[in-house]
């Protein structure tokens, strides 16, 4: 009965909840800006081999440190110039987007799986499980991320896989904290009690009653942690203990450009601005998703 009246009301009053959500998404400037910029960067990363004018690894000692095209000494052959080994900066930048996105994406997924499992278990079961998880979160928060990541990468050697795994294993804390409190709120909801009363299994309650309702929180944290992982990778690579040369990582490009800081400041500006734009876009997307999905904005 209630359902039919609601559908009728919707027919009379206009847009469905889905339409309202879409108009909200399209009307949110930060969200639109963030997702468009991120989409452009993803497309550029996927089509890097087609878009880049040169091989990002090709060294040309005759063409070292050519400034970008807007400088008087620049040329259209190397639009963003070349680095200290004569490699084309634009090509390295495009390939570097792949590294950043891969690290951010995969690390966020690993930490998301770990953190969500722990958080949901803690929130749903409570008691000892909750105490255990809270303790683990406290231990994780107490460890200085950059220092531990540097030390572990130094031990296992800096490769893409090691950096991704280390960051994935270090960044689950926010997932666990948010998922725990979200599940805690849901646990006492009537529909969860109802599911328990009709004899649903724990697995079914968690996957069909709880997970769909915390999915929007999860997406927001995934974006924020992705940005966090990208910044950390860049910092590790900048300190020389992340992705190793000659891989084109943006953090590494800043670190290599640092030698030329005095005369060629553009060498750090270009990869730095690229990092800034990517992280800004992801953060705006995350903040926007939070605004759109916040319960108080639903009606």
């Amino acid at each position: 009965m209630t359902n039919t009246t609601e559908t009728m009301n919707n027919d009379v009053t206009g847009p469905t909840p889905g339409q309202i959500l879409w108009s909200k998404i399209l009307g949110h400037r930060g969200l639109m800006f963030g997702s468009i910029v991120l989409l452009i960067i993803i497309v550029m990363a996927i089509f890097a081999p087609l878009l880049s004018p040169h091989d990002p690894y090709h060294q040309d000692l005759m063409a070292r440190i050519i400034p970008p095209v807007w400088d008087a000494r620049g040329s259209w052959d190397h639009i963003l110039g070349t680095d200290h080994l004569g490699r084309d900066y634009l090509s390295r930048l495009l390939y570097g987007a792949r590294i950043s996105l891969a690290i951010g994406g995969v690390a966020a997924i690993i930490s998301g799986v770990i953190g969500t499992c722990m958080g949901v278990a803690a929130g749903y079961f409570g008691g000892r499980v909750d105490n255990c998880v809270t303790f683990l979160i406290n231990v994780r928060l107490a460890m200085p991320v950059v220092l531990v990541a540097l030390a572990v990468v130094a031990v296992f050697g800096g490769s893409l896989q090691v950096v991704i795994i280390v960051l994935g294993l270090l960044l689950w804390d926010r997932f666990a904290v948010v998922m725990r409190s979200a599940t805690l709120q849901l646990r006492s909801m009537e529909y969860v009690t109802a599911a328990k009363a009709i004899g649903c299994s724990t697995k079914r309650i968690i996957f069909s009653e709880i997970m769909p309702n915390i999915a929007n929180n999860l997406i927001v944290i995934v974006t924020l942690e992705m940005a966090h992982a990208i910044l950390l990778e860049a910092a590790l690579s900048f300190l020389g203990l992340g992705v190793q040369p000659p891989t084109p990582s943006w953090g590494l490009m800043v670190s290599e450009g640092k030698q030329m800081l005095l005369f060629e400041p553009w060498m750090i500006s270009i990869p730095g601005v690229a990092l800034f734009i990517l992280v800004l876009a992801i953060n705006l997307l995350g903040d926007g998703l939070r605004d759109v999905s916040a319960p108080e904005n639903r009606n």
Binding site: F135, A142, M143, P144, L150, F238, L241, V254, F276
Partner: protein, 305 residues
């Protein structure tokens, strides 16, 4: 309050124990420490002698117990690289990091709190937009890159500040800004949200109705309540910042504990790295403990949890 304090203290001690085990485990992850100390040209019997001298041939529980027992007394062993006691090395460098941390958090509070208050007083105004802009920038800008940009502007273009070293107060200006800027967004958002909440409260309306001046309402009635969560956030941020100082110190070659950690990792100097991980973790644990107590003291409802 006493029960709550004891509970928190117990938790803090347990966390310390777990972190100490993890940082000790790092030694075992890294392969054979005896071979690392003996060097690449050492023979098998040399390595065996080194292993016996440092006690690496004993069970790990004994080694951990000894390390922990000594660490409690402030003895973290000898640095492989400097051949000096780690505690002496660290204590020399720690003061620089502490100064940097205190300056950084003061900078963050002194800029973020006024901005947050101003933004809350006039939501959606020009100043609110500026505050939002600064906080969005702060979250997206890589700290190492921000540091380099500051060096280009203030050390190379204008030549007012030294780019590296740790000789005088001038060396601390840029690191303070970089480290403080990192903590600003969270503090500003919390101040703004807290002020918005408080400004709508009944007691603020009552104060206005009594005819209290706007300045008095803002600072005596509103800010005093809105600032409580900010203080505890600042304590937690301080713990994070000390751990994060490693990046900032290495950009500006500021000879603090963070820089020492970076150098020691590069040199495979494990006793120093272990000690620094434990010390940085301890700072975080102590600061969160203090902030929990402060919260509980100011707000009795917190004591139940």
């Amino acid at each position: 309050m006493l029960v709550y304090t004891l509970k928190r203290l117990g938790l803090a001690l347990l966390v310390t124990l777990a972190v100490s085990m993890l940082s000790f485990a790092l030694l075992y992850l890294s392969g054979d420490p005896a071979a690392a100390i003996a060097g690449e040209t050492a023979s098998a019997s040399d390595i065996e002698a080194v292993r016996h001298y440092y006690g690496f041939d004993r069970p790990w529980v004994v080694q951990y117990g000894e390390w922990m027992f000594n660490a409690i007394r402030g003895d973290f062993g000898e640095s492989y690289y400097f051949k000096l006691p780690v505690s002496q090395l660290v204590s020399e460098r720690l003061s620089v990091t502490m100064i940097l941390g205190v300056c950084g958090i003061s900078f963050a509070l002194l800029t973020a709190v006024p901005l947050g208050v101003a933004a809350a007083v006039r939501p959606n105004s020009f100043i609110d937009r500026i505050a939002l802009f600064i906080s969005v920038m702060g979250q997206a800008m890589p700290s190492f890159w921000f540091g380099l940009v500051l060096i280009v502007i203030f050390s190379i273009k204008f030549r007012i500040l030294p780019p590296s070293g740790s000789d005088g107060w001038q060396n601390f200006v840029m690191p303070t800004v970089v480290l403080g800027y990192y903590a600003m967004p969270a503090i500003m958002r919390l101040t703004r949200a807290g002020m918005l909440d408080v400004l709508g409260a009944d007691y603020v309306r009552t104060a206005r109705a009594k005819g209290a001046g706007e300045f008095r309402v803002m600072f005596k009635h509103a800010l005093r309540n809105a600032i409580i969560p900010v203080v505890s956030l600042a304590a937690v941020q301080m713990g994070f910042m000390l751990g994060g100082s490693i990046v900032v110190e290495s950009i500006f070659a500021l000879h603090g504990a963070g820089y020492l950690a970076w150098e020691s990792i590069g040199r495979n100097d494990l006793p120093t790295v272990q000690a620094l991980i434990l010390i940085f973790s301890l700072f975080y644990i102590v600061f969160t403990f203090l902030s929990d107590l402060l919260n509980a003291w100011l707000d009795p409802r917190m004591r139940v949890g």
